[in-house]
């Protein structure tokens, strides 16, 4: 699709734009931050943001938007930053992404918009993520919340239930409220945000930012119901037949944590990443006993896995006072699925990386608590079906190390709650809900998107799936009125 180029407000001559260095993200000092839970990244200054925006060379056919799962109008909002209309820039982003303050923080921009930025071919890409975060934060502080971007549409008289208040559900809610539907979000936990509240730590995504994003959806008219488990408190059938919901979106998230099925995994001190992070983030275990939920404060913690969740867990363990907090990963750093920024931050904070190591057993004391991990060293063999080189144990490499806490961060399976209570909805052999590209499930009027369909992925991919479903739900509702 051909788009019109946005009006240019960049006053810097083209040649000089390439001399401006990519603006560094101001950060909390590494030593200091490894002892607190305050946000690591402090955000660009006004001057930095404008400099960074001026680096954009305004390509005739920009590729950055293609790299964005929700197609934010990146060239347009960058020009508004050049104009120093920061609130306007945030508004522009919000046309396509209802949660810019969150995505500006947690999106893997280096493999999305920034990866395909033309500037990146010869120089460094424009720091699109940092700019997104800057204008979102600016508009939260100085703008007028959501109202300015939103004229209340006429009511359609139709009701949509959204199950789960994570990134997928919030994206659907934001799109459908703009269409005039009555939207209610049901959440099983006592706080809204799904993985954004229980999974992602305060030092990466402050809860206050999340609460503001949720509040702005509430201002737009979205209803939020907590402590409500669809499937148990009320079934999908009851929501539709008894409560009058015309359509349902399931954004349940990934759910059940995977374990390794090795001896000693149920010892005390061995956590799933979900449990460790939930105790710390949602339940604020790091403020025990001021907050009631206890959490191990380990001296020697190992975290098994190499994804973003593993990085969140290891950096949390460090902040809880571990003398040594290590990543144990069976491949090499090159294959790690975690974002570079997370790996880099973890290293700065003193996290140790034990790559090409795989635990095979956890050993206990006489009280049933973990005291050691038996591991094997690995080497990389032929590529497997994921395209990454397969880790193979090295003969005679077994060793034992002392640990007093283990966090298993090797991914999640799917939650069985919906398939237990709504057998009409088809699931695949991994228990994920089967849905077409637009999120339609095998049950009429029921849509699904995010990790429950795709398996564990990222916040922005879940939002992208949610937005596609929102279009399909809107069409479904319109057809329903017509019929």
């Amino acid at each position: 699709m051909k788009r019109e180029r946005p009006e240019s407000f960049n006053t810097v001559p083209m040649k000089e734009r390439m001399i401006i260095p990519r603006q560094d993200m101001p950060e909390q000092d590494a030593l200091l931050r490894s002892t607190n839970f305050l946000e690591v990244n402090l955000g660009l200054t006004h001057e930095q943001a404008v400099f960074e925006a001026q680096r954009c060379i305004e390509c005739k056919s920009p590729t950055c938007m293609d790299g964005c799962p929700v197609s934010i109008k990146i060239p347009d909002f960058i020009q508004l930053i050049c104009k120093e209309d920061f609130v306007g820039a945030a508004k522009k982003i919000k046309e396509d992404n209802s949660l810019p303050a969150i995505c500006g923080r947690v999106c893997p921009q280096e493999t999305q918009c920034e990866e395909v930025c033309v500037m990146g071919k010869r120089f460094e890409p424009v720091a699109i993520g940092r700019l997104e975060r800057f204008v979102a934060d600016y508009s939260m502080q100085h703008g007028n919340g959501s109202q300015e971007t939103f004229d209340k549409p006429a009511s359609s008289g139709q009701k949509v239930a959204i199950v789960g208040s994570g990134p997928a559900g919030l994206a659907v809610a934001s799109d459908l409220i703009k269409e005039g539907h009555e939207v209610t979000v049901f959440e099983a936990l006592h706080e809204f945000g799904g993985v954004l509240v229980y999974g992602i730590p305060e030092f990466r995504l402050p809860k206050s930012i999340l609460r503001k994003e949720v509040a702005s959806l509430e201002d737009m008219g979205v209803k939020f119901v907590k402590n409500f488990i669809v499937g148990r408190t009320m079934t999908i059938q009851e929501l539709m037949a008894d409560e009058g919901y015309d359509a349902v979106f399931l954004g349940l998230g990934a759910g059940l944590p995977r374990f390794m099925n090795i001896p000693g995994e149920n010892l005390n001190g061995v956590y799933s990443a979900n449990e460790f992070l939930t105790r710390s983030n949602l339940m604020r275990g790091y403020e025990f006993p001021e907050w009631d939920t206890p959490l191990y404060r380990a001296k020697h913690a190992i975290i098994v896995g190499g994804g973003n969740t593993a990085m969140d867990a290891v950096r949390t363990a460090k902040r809880l006072g571990a003398d040594e907090a290590s990543i144990v990963y069976r491949r090499s750093e090159e294959e790690m699925p975690a974002r570079n920024e997370e790996i880099h931050h973890a290293k700065e904070e003193g996290v140790k990386f034990m790559n090409l190591v795989n635990p095979i057993e956890f050993i206990s004391d006489d009280q049933g608590s973990v005291v050691a991990a038996k591991c094997l060293r690995m080497e990389l063999g032929e590529p497997d079906e994921s395209g990454r080189r397969r880790p193979v144990p090295m003969e005679g490499s077994e060793f034992v190390m002392d640990v007093d806490m283990v966090v298993i961060a090797v991914g999640n399976g799917s939650n069985p709650l919906i398939s237990q209570t709504t057998p009409e909805i088809e699931t695949n052999k991994w228990g994920n809900i089967v849905a077409d590209e637009d999120g339609r499930t095998s049950m009429d009027g029921v849509f699904a998107g995010g990790d429950i369909v795709s398996g564990g992925a990222t916040v922005i991919l879940a939002m992208g799936a949610g937005r596609k479903s929102a279009v399909a739900i809107n069409e479904y509702l319109k057809a329903k009125v017509g019929s």
Binding site: A188, Y198, T233, M234, L256, N261, S272, E290
Partner: protein, 290 residues
């Protein structure tokens, strides 16, 4: 916020709460539980639902003040509010007509065994209840149990009521009298359920136990509540809470229940100190004003 319609002590340190919860009341079945938080910095704890009323929209839970959260909960009165309440969680009890069903319960477990005994009776079983307690004062729900089952037998550790001994002794008595149970349900403290399971495994009577594990979300997301049953790891919250007692690794579960013992003691101590301060402050006020 979730209203406490009625709160009253029914035994020393054991309080019964009627909670306003119309949705949960409508859906809950025997064997299911809720998760609650007492206050906005509180932990999430699971408690089995003892009773409910769909028309009046309430559920009943029985709480023994053991740790910080349950002790705090038991300071709440009629008209107070809970911070959070969610449910019903877990799979409902599987009930069928086995023939003779013996429900063995200890402590507050009796309140939790009550709906299962009633459902068992309704399914056509001959139901015998064996209630165990440390002493006479700690026996709860005996009258309600007597209303729904064919026979109630009591045992106390100190002999202050019923048979002097344990619930396992009463089961042995039954067998000696020639009564052969077809099914056993055991609900109570872990050592009691382990002892019953041991005993019935030897004599070959199928036994179902209701496990109480530490939980956080209660919906399968965190895995805090994992236990080993039949050599496999299960999540008590979504795979249970009821399991074949002969297959449960009670030793592991017991050690997992003590995982935060030190922290729980610390937390409980903080709570008691705060309560003492509050009481002293109130006393001072009374002294000043009088």
């Amino acid at each position: 916020m979730y209203k406490i319609i009625k709160a009253e002590f029914i035994a020393p340190n054991v309080k019964s709460f009627i909670l306003e919860a119309p949705h949960i009341a409508k859906k809950r079945q025997a064997g299911q539980f809720i998760i609650l938080r007492v206050h906005d910095k509180g932990e999430r704890i699971p408690i089995t639902i003892a009773d409910s009323n769909t028309e009046e929209g309430w559920i009943n839970i029985i709480v023994q003040g053991l740790g910080k959260t349950s002790a705090h909960l038991n300071t709440l009165e009629t008209g107070d509010y809970l911070q959070d309440l969610v449910g019903p969680l877990g799979l409902p009890t599987h009930i069928e007509n086995w023939g003779t069903l013996v429900c063995m319960s200890g402590g507050v477990g009796t309140a939790e065994a009550l709906p299962i005994a009633a459902a068992g009776k309704a399914a056509g079983n001959r139901v015998i209840s064996i209630i165990g307690a440390r002493n006479k004062d700690l026996i709860i729900a005996e009258d309600q149990m007597a209303e729904v089952v064919d026979e109630v037998r009591i045992s106390t550790d100190d002999g202050s009521a019923g048979r002097h001994g344990l619930v396992t002794d009463v089961l042995q008595d039954l067998m000696d009298e020639g009564i052969k149970p077809d099914m056993i349900v055991a609900i109570g403290p872990l050592p009691m359920m382990a002892a019953v399971s041991n005993q019935t495994k030897e004599i070959g009577i199928p036994t179902m136990v209701s496990l109480n594990a530490i939980m956080v979300d209660g919906t399968g997301m965190c895995g805090a509540c994992r236990a080993t049953v039949g050599g496999k790891t299960v999540f008590v919250c979504v795979d249970g809470p009821e399991f074949d007692g002969h297959q449960v690794d009670f030793k592991e579960l017991g050690s997992r229940q003590r995982m935060y013992k030190k922290q729980e003691e610390e937390s409980h101590k903080c709570f008691l100190e705060r309560q003492m301060k509050k009481m002293k402050a109130e006393q001072m006020k009374v002294e000043v004003t009088s």
